[in-house]
């Protein structure tokens, strides 16, 4: 089988790693280590200087991209390369077209209405502000503020009813 070795510089959980695939090196006549799991294959190839610089591989037989999880030097300057499938980059085009429910997103750009338990706000450290309403019925000014209640009525002459 033919493989292409890469050196990737991005995080494993980057979906589309196309921009991070550096130094491609195509190698033919690579043999799978029998039996060979498609998701976690082991490959046998000839050792060469600089092989340890590669951490990512495309296997054309499986049409998948893999992380190189380990390399073991064996007799005859051969190398057994352990791999784990990278489903994110392998299916990155299809994944982007899928519909799902996004629970966290960088592209939102700012906090939303959804409470975020991971955002470190300090509820015990608060900024205090105050704002007065524009008007009030009350006053401290000198004015007419006494209400006097007195016996009412008006005297009439002759006591008529």
């Amino acid at each position: 089988m033919t493989i292409i070795l890469y050196n990737i510089t991005c995080a494993p959980n980057v979906v589309n790693k196309s921009a991070f695939l550096n130094g491609p090196l195509t190698i033919s006549n690579v043999r799978p280590n029998d039996p060979c799991d498609m998701l976690n294959p082991s490959l046998i190839l000839d050792w060469f200087d600089g092989i340890s610089n590669y951490n990512y591989v495309y296997i054309d037989t499986f049409d998948r991209y893999y992380f190189i999880t380990g390399s073991t030097l064996t007799s005859g300057k051969r190398c057994v390369m352990s791999c784990a499938v990278d489903v994110l980059h392998t299916y990155h085009t299809a994944i982007k077209n899928c519909i799902g429910t996004v629970l966290r997103s960088e592209s939102i750009g700012k906090p939303t209405m959804i409470a975020d338990s991971k955002l470190p706000i300090h509820t015990n450290q608060r900024t205090i502000d105050a704002i007065n309403f524009s008007d009030t019925p009350f006053t401290r000014d000198v004015g007419s503020h006494f209400i006097l209640t007195t016996i009412g009525g008006t005297p009439t002459q002759g006591g008529t009813t």
Binding site: N13, G100, L103, I121, I147
Partner: protein, 782 residues
């Protein structure tokens, strides 16, 4: 919507009327069920009612023509029914109240056929003749019972079984009048006018010249050519060739509910049979407001017992909330009355809402009606929620967002009249208001508002008036009794309060104590004060997100304490504080409210407090005084004098302790009060005490606190905002912002966590797809 083919036949039997359109595609034509055109039933598609192809009186009316439900705002859901029997008081006797009303649309096959669909009254069986149900009922029985066994009484009706969406625009038309008080001679001033003409003040007939509206109808505009979004020919009223059209309620109505179906058989109640009613007007229009009886729009009481056979016994009204019945100047008992509404600013919108209930295109603009695109600015489209129209609508490009935009015809509706959606029956238009109290009725007291600077004159005046007493004429106690109805002039003062409130008085007067005018300037005290403190928009301080909801909002209310405002409720809304102050007791209530999204005020908190200080005044209990005068011994007198002065001194002490208040106003008062205290130490008090050594003192009211006015006197909102010093850029890149959005992942970028991703559509092993799901849930960089 699935039309009942047992009643209306299959679509291949539906004829179109060639007078409507000729060359349009099938989905853009009006189709009608064929109920026959003569007494020959054979050509009728009417399948049920096997008894001569007639639907019997007790057969439920088929509802499947209803492409939507008319919501509770529709006048058809609120029909009103009025009596017309002379001798009875003219009044509403029943009123419908449906949350959803189903309907059917008919064109009239023949003018004034036996089924006479233009008659808009309902009939009762009478005098043994049981053939008079609802005259326009489809079809209870023959209008003329004698021929009921041989005739096709449904031939006059053309049920509309397809309304083409792209060939139907409803247009409002009005019947308006200059006046409504002299209808008999005033019919000539009734005018039928398009809404767009009526709203143009330059026209002869407009909303100012003819402000009384007795009918609102709608024309159904369409074209007869091939239909496109922009018709090549002007749209016209498509029902015009029929000489009439009907909009029929197919739900039970309460027209005769509780009334005897047959006057000779009182036990046979009308409401036992399915009721049905059709509104058909002249001018080939569909009524949506007003009253229409046989051929006319007026009501008249009838006194002929036999007239029930052939005249309207009652009237059905498509109501308006402001609808009224006219009061003609004539006292003639046959005087006709009109149901009308007077034009007001919101009338056009009300009409729009009524038409919108049908979920169809409509406009009140002439050019748009005749040639406008269906997404033009003034073309409206009624909004249907679960198939029910309740007055909402869109216009312009927003029409494209409505499901009806994609309908070819009303037959594409998914509304099922037999299984209508559950509708909230409530109307959320509650109002929470406050108002001033009415003036208190005149009581035995007078209430004054006195300036702070005049208070120190008051009790001096009391001493002055006592000094006027002439001991050669009468004793001082008799003099006091004559002047104040009491031996103790201070008892003329019922209460004295300090209330630090603005604008408590009205008018100007002088303080009178008994007969004695003190000449102290004052104003009459108001009963209460309602004061609006203004409005503050509770603006989000953290970017209008969940952190703002962690904010604490505390509202300080002078004299009433504090209340916590719920940020979820108040954020982005306007908070209002209003004070209701009872000046008779000094209690005050702070009403905290906000303006809800529907523009209505919602009160969330009412905090109560007291803003008055009852200032102590000595008084006399007359009965006790009399008892004491006659029975007390000298030693007892002395004891009581001591007690009295203890109490008195304590009162004055309490007042004096208020000195030092930070407010100048209080200082000035207490200066006066201190003067009073000093006065009582003077010789005058000795004179007073000589006459009142046995008088117990009492305290009217209690000393109130002034702390309220010492603190801030304006309502104040205190924001307590959690500190957030996170760098959003790095935070978002490392862990993303919490959200809950559904969509294609291509719409997101950067760090993303998502769940329940639909991974169908591409080939991968199950294990791989599980790995993808797991990876997406754990967070990836898109």
């Amino acid at each position: 919507m699935s039309i009942n083919t047992n009643v209306y036949g299959t679509s291949d039997t539906w004829p179109q009327d060639t007078s409507v359109e000729t060359s349009a595609p099938a989905e853009q034509k009006y189709y009608f069920a064929n109920f026959g055109n003569s007494a020959n039933y054979d050509i009728s598609t009417l399948k049920v009612g096997v008894d001569n192809n007639r639907v019997r009186l007790n057969t439920p009316i088929d509802k499947t023509l209803s492409w939507c439900g008319l919501g509770k705002k529709s006048a058809f859901s609120n029909l009103e029914f009025y009596n017309n029997k002379i001798g009875d008081e003219f009044k509403m006797i029943n009123k419908d109240n449906r949350t959803i009303t189903n309907f059917a649309l008919f064109a009239k096959a023949f003018p004034w056929s036996l089924a006479n669909p233009t008659v808009s009254n309902w009939y009762y069986a009478d005098k043994g003749n049981t053939h008079y149900g609802s005259r326009a009922r489809w079809m209870p029985d023959a209008q003329d019972g004698a021929t009921s066994s041989t005739s096709n009484f449904n031939m006059g009706l053309k049920p509309v079984v397809q309304m083409p969406m792209r060939n139907c625009v409803f247009v409002p038309v009005l019947n308006v009048r200059k006046r409504v008080d002299t209808i008999n001679s005033d019919d000539v001033n009734a005018q039928t006018v398009y809404m767009w003409d009526y709203l143009n003040a330059n026209n002869t007939v407009n909303y100012t010249s003819h402000p009384y509206i007795t009918e609102v109808k709608m024309y159904c505009y369409g074209t007869s050519n091939g239909l496109t979004a922009t018709p090549t020919n002007k749209r016209v009223n498509v029902f015009s060739p029929f000489g009439g059209c009907i909009l029929a309620v197919t739900d039970n109505i309460s027209a005769g509910k509780g009334l005897p179906f047959d006057m000779d058989v009182p036990g046979a109640i009308q409401g036992k049979s399915t009721q049905y009613y059709a509104f058909g007007g002249d001018s080939n229009a569909l009524n949506i407001f007003g009253m229409r009886s046989a051929n006319n729009v007026y009501m008249v009481l009838s006194d002929s017992p036999t007239s029930y056979n052939y005249q309207a016994r009652g009237y059905i009204v498509l109501p308006h909330p402001n609808g009224q019945i006219s009061t003609p100047t004539s006292t003639d008992r046959y005087t006709r009355k009109l149901y009308y509404v007077q034009y007001y600013d919101g009338f056009q919108e009300w009409v729009r809402e009524q038409i919108a209930c049908f979920g169809m295109f409509f406009t009140d603009d002439k050019d748009t009606a005749e040639t406008g695109d269906f997404d033009s600015e003034l073309m409206c489209l009624g909004t249907l929620v679960d198939g029910v129209g309740n007055g909402a609508y869109t216009h312009g490009a927003d029409n494209r967002d409505q499901p009806q935009w994609n309908w070819d015809s009303t037959n594409d509706s998914t509304y099922d009249p037999s299984n209508p959606p559950r509708v909230d029956p409530n109307t959320y238009d509650g109002v929470m208001d406050t108002a001033s109290t009415p003036l208190l009725l005149a009581t035995a007291t007078e209430r004054y508002v006195i300036a702070d600077t005049n208070m120190n004159k008051l009790l001096t005046k009391l001493w002055d008036v006592m000094a006027l007493a002439d001991p050669t004429t009468m004793t001082k106690s008799d003099y006091a009794l004559d002047m104040f109805l009491t031996n103790n002039p201070i008892d003329a003062i019922v209460s004295l309060q300090y209330i630090p409130v603005k604008d408590m008085g009205t008018g100007s007067t002088t303080v009178t104590l008994g007969k004695y005018d003190t000449n102290i300037p004052a104003a009459h005290a108001e009963t209460s004060v309602v004061a609006d403190c203004g409005t503050i928009e509770i603006f989000p301080r953290c970017g209008d997100n969940w952190i703002d909801r962690e904010m604490k909002l505390t509202l300080y209310l002078p004299f009433c304490g504090v209340v916590d405002l719920d940020p979820e409720t108040y954020l982005n809304r306007f908070c209002n504080v209003e004070y209701l102050i009872d000046l008779t007791t000094g209690t005050c209530s702070a009403v905290v409210s906000f303006i809800a999204d529907n523009g209505k005020r919602v009160i969330t908190d009412i905090a109560n407090g007291v803003c008055a200080i009852d200032l102590p005044v000595t008084g006399i209990q007359q009965q006790t005084l009399n008892s004491e005068l006659f029975n007390a011994s000298e030693s007892t007198k002395q004891l009581k004098v001591n007690n009295a002065f203890k109490g008195f001194k304590s009162l004055m002490g309490a007042v004096s302790s208020l000195q030092g208040s930070p407010t100048g106003a209080i200082d000035s008062i207490l200066g006066g009060a201190a003067d009073i205290y000093n006065i009582f130490q003077s010789e005058k008090i000795a004179d007073y005490n000589l006459q009142h050594t046995t008088i117990p003192t009492k305290m009217i009211g209690t000393s109130g606190g002034l702390t309220g006015v010492m603190a801030t006197i304006k309502p104040t909102i205190i924001y307590s905002i959690p500190v957030n010093d996170v760098n959003y850029s790095t935070y978002g890149h490392s862990i993303g912002f919490a959200c809950c959005e559904t969509g294609a992942l291509s719409g997101f970028s950067g760090y993303t966590e998502c769940t329940n991703v639909d991974l169908s559509g591409f080939s991968a092993t199950t294990t791989e797809k599980n790995m993808i799901q797991s990876a997406l849930a754990g967070g990836v960089y898109l």
